[in-house]
C-alpha cells in the first residue's frame, strides 16, 4: 500500500462499521510475510546462468516501479525534456526587486543577547513575525527576535546590518538629520549572525531549527514569552465545578436504585472469590462493570491536584521543559495582534544530549501549562470558514468510491442508526486521539533535537476508562441509554 492509501485506511478504520470491510485481509498479522527463499534463489540462479541477457540483474523483482528503465527511447526523451525544463527554471535571473529590498539592523542587547529592527516593513512575512517597536525615528518600525531574524536572513529575504552606537543614538534622538543605513553600517553575513543570535539560552539553535522547519511548512508561529505566566487553568475549572454543583448525582440516583435492588441477591460482593458463582448476571456488560477494580486517572485530575497544592515548585527539570512556541496551522484565521484562536500545537524544544524523556509528573505539569479551553468553555457557535478544497486531484479514486458508498449507505439508515455510528466515531476518536472532532485535547508537542535532526512527538492525555465527567457528557449526548457506562464491550446478548 502506498502512504496515501495507508493514510486513507486510517480514516476508514475510524468507522467501526467497516470492521469487516476486508475481513479476509484483516485476519492476519503482519509477520505472515516471511520471505520465500525459493523465489530468491531461483531468480539469482537464472540471472547467473543467462548472463543478464535481458538486462535484469539478480535482484528479485518487488512490485511496480513508476519509471523503471525499459531501454526505450521514449523514456530517455521524456527524461531529457524534464531535465531541460529544470535547467531553464534554474538559469532564470534571480534577485530581489528593488522595491522589495528589506533592510534590518542588528542591535545588541544585554538582556536577550540582541534583536533586530526593521525600519521599513515590506512584503508579507509579518503575519506572525515581529513586534511593534515604537521609536522616534521610524513610524512602522518592527522588532524581530533572533530566531525570526535568522530565519528571514537565511531565507534570503532580508539584508542585515550591524547597528553601532551612532545608530542607537540616532534612534533615540530626533534632532539630527538623515541616517543612511546602507552606507554607514557594516552588513552582517549569515555566519556572523548565527554567532550573534544564539548566545542566549532563550534563543538556541535547537529552537531555531524547529522554528524554521515549521515555518517552511507554512505554519504560523509565535514565541511564548518564558517570563509571562499563563493564568492558571485550575481557577477556571474550580469555578465551573463549584457552579455546577451536584446536578449529576441526582441524575444518576435512579441508576443507583437498580444496583441497590440487585445487590439484595449478592451474597458476596464482586471482590469476593465466590461472587460469580453465586450471582445472577443478565448482561455481559454488567460482568465487566463488576470487574472494574484498578483506580484510573481521569482527565483534569493532575489539574485538580494543583488546586490543593498552590505552591509552585519550579524545579530544574521543568525549566528544561517549557513551551517555547505556539503554532497555528497555515489556513487558520490568525492575527498577531489578537490571537484569540487557540494555537493548534504548543511546542517544547529539547535536546537529546541534555534532557531525557519526561516522567509522568513533568508531562502533566506541561499539559497543565498549555493554553487550553475546557469543553464547557467552547464558544457555542463559531461560524467556520467554508473549507476550500484546492487540490481536487488529491482525492483518490478510492476515496471517491468510499465517499459514495458511505453516502448511499447512510441514506438507507434511520436516525437512530446514524446516531449510533456517530457515537462509535466519537468514542473511537476519544480513545485514539483523546478528543472528539470539536473538542480540543490536552496535548503538548515535543520537538526532540538530536545533532540537528528533528523528531516531533505529540503527547496526549487520555483515559481509556471513559469515566471523567467531560467525556461522559460528550458521549451521553448521543447515546442516552448508555448514560451509566461507556466503552467498547461487545453487547452480543442485547
Amino acid at each position: 500500500m502506498t502512504k496515501k492509501e495507508l493514510h486513507l485506511q486510517d480514516e476508514i478504520d475510524d468507522d467501526e462499521s467497516n470492521i469487516n470491510k476486508n475481513d479476509i485481509e484483516n485476519n492476519y498479522d503482519i509477520e505472515d510475510e516471511t520471505p520465500d527463499w525459493k523465489i530468491l534463489t531461483r531468480s539469482l540462479g537464472s540471472a547467473n546462468n543467462s548472463n543478464n541477457t535481458n538486462g535484469t540483474s539478480g535482484i528479485p523483482k518487488r512490485g511496480d516501479k513508476d519509471f523503471e528503465p525499459d531501454n526505450t527511447d521514449i523514456q530517455t526523451s521524456t527524461l531529457q525534456e524534464s531535465r531541460e525544463a529544470m535547467y531553464d527554471a534554474i538559469s532564470g535571473v534571480r534577485g530581489h526587486h528593488l522595491k522589495q529590498k528589506l533592510l534590518s539592523i542588528w542591535i545588541e542587547d544585554e538582556e536577550d543577547g540582541g534583536y533586530s529592527i526593521i525600519p521599513f516593513m515590506k512584503g508579507n512575512y509579518f503575519r506572525d513575525i515581529g513586534k511593534a517597536y515604537p521609536n522616534r525615528r521610524y513610524k512602522n518600525c518592527i522588532r524581530l527576535n533572533p530566531i525570526e531574524t535568522v530565519y528571514l536572513v537565511e531565507r534570503g529575504s532580508m539584508i542585515i546590518y550591524l547597528g553601532d552606537e551612532k545608530f542607537t543614538n540616532y534612534l533615540k534622538d530626533e534632532e539630527e538629520g538623515e541616517f543612511n543605513i546602507e552606507e554607514e553600517l557594516v552588513p552582517v553575513d549569515l555566519e556572523l549572525l548565527y554567532s550573534l543570535a544564539f548566545i542566549n539560552e532563550r534563543y538556541t539553535i535547537d529552537k531555531y531549527q524547529v522554528y524554521s522547519y515549521l515555518k517552511r511548512h507554512g505554519y504560523l508561529i509565535l514565541e511564548v514569552d518564558p517570563k509571562k505566566q499563563q493564568p492558571p487553568q485550575w481557577k477556571r475549572l474550580e469555578q465551573y465545578e463549584s457552579s455546577k454543583g451536584q446536578s449529576r448525582s441526582i441524575i444518576s440516583w435512579g441508576w443507583d436504585w437498580k444496583k441497590w435492588i440487585q445487590s439484595f441477591w449478592r451474597p458476596f460482593p464482586p471482590t469476593h472469590s465466590l461472587h460469580y458463582l453465586t450471582t445472577h448476571y443478565f448482561k455481559v456488560i454488567d460482568i465487566f462493570k463488576s470487574l472494574r477494580l484498578i483506580p484510573t486517572y481521569q482527565i483534569y485530575d493532575s489539574l485538580r491536584k494543583t488546586i490543593n497544592t498552590t505552591t509552585t515548585t519550579t524545579s530544574t527539570t521543568l525549566d528544561d521543559y517549557k513551551i517555547s512556541f505556539n503554532v497555528w496551522k497555515p489556513g487558520s484565521q490568525f492575527s498577531k495582534s489578537n490571537p484569540s484562536q487557540l494555537p493548534d500545537y504548543q511546542i517544547v524544544v529539547v535536546n537529546t544530549d541534555k534532557v531525557k524523556f519526561p516522567t509522568l509528573k513533568v508531562i502533566q505539569r506541561l499539559v497543565n501549562t498549555i493554553e487550553y479551553r475546557f469543553p464547557f468553555e467552547q464558544p457555542s457557535q463559531i461560524p467556520t470558514p467554508p473549507v476550500i478544497k484546492k487540490n481536487d486531484k488529491m482525492i483518490s479514486k478510492r476515496q471517491l468510491k468510499y465517499d459514495q458508498r458511505q453516502k448511499s449507505n447512510q441514506s438507507k439508515l434511520n436516525t437512530a442508526q446514524l446516531n449510533n455510528i456517530e457515537y462509535l466515531k466519537k468514542r473511537d476518536n476519544l480513545l485514539k486521539y483523546g478528543k472528539t472532532s470539536k473538542q480540543s485535547n490536552r496535548n503538548v508537542v515535543i520537538g526532540v533535537i538530536n545533532n540537528g535532526i528533528i523528531n516531533l512527538i505529540n503527547l496526549i492525555e487520555n483515559e481509556f476508562s471513559l469515566t471523567s465527567e467531560s467525556v461522559i457528557d460528550e458521549l451521553t449526548q448521543l447515546h442516552k441509554e448508555k448514560s451509566d457506562i461507556h466503552g467498547i464491550v461487545y453487547n452480543g446478548d442485547k
Partner: protein
C-alpha cells in the same frame, strides 16, 4: 460474503468472557427500567425475585477449567473443551502448535484426509487461508509480469501481432479476476494430492483411521492465568498435583519475575497484572505485544474480528526517584515507529504503586482464615493507579489543513 462471515464469527465468538450469564443459560432477560415509571421498577423487582428464586446461578454448575503449572513454569490447558471455552470466550492463551488459535488437530485431519464423511475442509482455517492467499498473489504476479513483457514490446515500437493483442487482453482479464480472489470458497483445494510423511503414520490409529491424540495444548501467560483465577474464578490450577489457591498463585507468579522471597510492590508481574486487569475490565481483548516491541496489544473484540488497535507500554511511575525518567528518546521513538507503521496507537500506561510497602507479603500478616484471598488482594490492587498518555509522531507536512 463479508456479512455472512461476520455473522458466522459472532455466532462462534458471541461471548467475550468465560462466565455464563443467566440470560445465556436460560434465555431469560430482565425488563427495561424507566427511571420515571414506578411500575417498571416493580416489574423489574418482581422478575428479579422470580429469577433468583427459581434459577440456580449457571456459573456454579459449570466445571472449573483445569490449568496446570508444570515444572518449567508453563501454564497448560489440556482438555479440548477447556481450550475451546478459553479461546472462544475472550481469546485467552495460544495453541503451541498453531499461530494463535489451537487448530493443529483440525489442520492435521484436513491434511491427512481423515474425515471420511466428506465434511473435511468445509471450514477453512486461518493458516490455510494464508497459504491460499499467498498462492493467489503469486499467480497474480505471474500474470502481471506477462502483461508487462508484452507492454514493453509495445512501447519499444515493435508491432504486435493480432494474436499478441488478444493474448494481452486475455491476461488483463485474468489479472482483474485474480485481484479479488475469493479465498474462502473451497474450489480447487481438493485436487491437492494427499501427502503422508513417515511420522504421520504414528498419529493415525490403524483400525479407525482417526487421529490418536491431540498433541497440542493451550499455553497461557501468567497474567491470563491470574486473571482467570483471581478476577473470574473460573479455573482450577494445579502444580505438582497440588491445588494452588489464589494466594499461592499470586506468590508463584511474582516469583517468576524475581526469585527472592521478598516481593516488592514494583514487581513486574504486579504491574503487568494491574494493567491487564484494567484493560480486560474495560472489555478489551488483551494479548502479548512482543511482536511489536510493546507490552500488550488491545483488540476491540479479538484477533478474528480486526487488527489490534492499541499497543500498550507499561511504565512504572517512579515519582520518588529523579525527575527524568529512565527511558530515552531513542527507545521510545523506535517503538513508536514500529507501532505507527502497523497503524496502531501507542499508549504509554503509567502505573502508580504504593511506595510505603516494603514487602507485599505484609498484606497477609493480619489475615484470619475466614478472609477471602480475593478481597485482600483487591484491597491491595486498589493502591495502584493507571494513567494513560498517547504517544504520537507529528509530521507537520501532513497536518497542514
Amino acid at each position: 460474503m463479508a456479512k455472512f462471515h461476520k455473522k458466522h464469527l459472532n455466532k462462534i465468538y458471541g461471548y467475550p468472557i468465560p462466565i455464563t450469564t443467566t440470560s445465556e443459560a436460560y434465555g431469560v432477560s430482565l425488563p427495561e427500567v424507566y427511571p420515571h415509571n414506578p411500575i417498571s421498577w416493580l416489574f423489574f423487582a418482581y422478575k428479579l425475585i422470580q429469577y433468583n428464586l427459581s434459577l440456580t446461578v449457571p456459573q456454579s454448575e459449570i466445571k472449573f477449567i483445569e490449568v496446570e503449572l508444570d515444572q518449567s513454569s508453563m501454564f497448560k490447558v489440556d482438555q479440548t473443551d477447556d481450550v475451546l471455552r478459553l479461546w472462544r470466550r475472550g481469546f485467552f492463551g495460544k495453541g503451541i502448535l498453531s499461530r494463535s488459535e489451537p487448530t493443529w488437530k483440525e489442520r492435521t485431519i484436513n491434511r491427512l484426509n481423515l474425515n471420511s464423511e466428506g465434511e473435511g475442509g468445509s471450514n477453512l482455517l486461518m493458516e490455510d487461508v494464508t497459504v491460499k492467499r499467498r498462492e493467489g498473489r503469486q499467480k497474480y504476479k505471474d500474470e502481471r509480469s506477462k502483461i508487462q513483457a508484452l507492454e514493453l514490446l509495445q512501447r519499444k515500437g515493435e508491432i504486435l501481432s493480432n494474436d499478441d493483442l488478444k493474448l494481452l487482453d486475455e491476461y488483463r482479464e485474468n489479472m482483474a479476476k485474480l485481484k479479488n480472489p475469493n479465498i474462502r470458497s473451497n474450489g480447487d483445494g481438493d485436487n491437492d494430492e494427499e501427502y503422508i510423511r513417515e511420522e504421520d503414520e504414528v498419529l493415525i490409529d490403524e483400525d479407525t483411521n482417526q487421529l490418536i491424540s491431540n498433541l497440542e495444548f493451550l499455553q497461557l501467560q501468567s497474567i491470563e492465568v491470574f486473571f482467570l483465577k483471581f478476577g473470574l474464578n473460573v479455573i482450577k490450577i494445579t502444580h505438582n498435583q497440588l491445588k494452588l489457591s489464589t494466594r499461592d498463585l499470586f506468590l508463584q507468579c511474582c516469583q517468576l519475575q524475581s526469585s527472592s522471597t521478598v516481593i516488592k510492590p514494583n514487581n513486574q508481574f504486579i504491574f503487568e497484572y494491574v494493567v491487564y486487569h484494567h484493560y480486560r475490565s474495560l472489555g478489551w481483548c488483551v494479548r502479548s505485544g512482543i511482536k511489536f516491541g510493546s507490552d500488550m496489544l488491545l483488540y476491540k473484540r479479538g484477533p478474528p474480528f480486526s487488527h489490534a488497535e492499541h499497543a500498550v507500554m507499561i511504565i512504572p511511575n517512579d515519582e520518588s526517584e529523579s525527575e527524568s525518567s529512565q527511558y530515552d528518546w531513542f527507545e521510545l521513538a523506535s517503538r513508536a515507529r514500529v507501532i505507527g507503521t502497523v497503524k496502531k496507537n501507542f499508549v504509554l500506561t503509567f502505573v502508580d504503586y504504593p511506595h510505603d510497602i516494603e514487602d507485599v507479603n505484609e498484606i497477609w500478616s493480619q489475615v484470619t482464615d475466614e478472609d477471602d484471598d480475593k478481597e485482600i488482594l483487591s484491597q491491595f490492587f486498589k493502591l495502584y493507579k493507571i494513567t494513560e498518555i498517547l504517544y504520537r509522531r507529528w509530521s507537520p507536512s501532513r497536518t497542514r489543513d
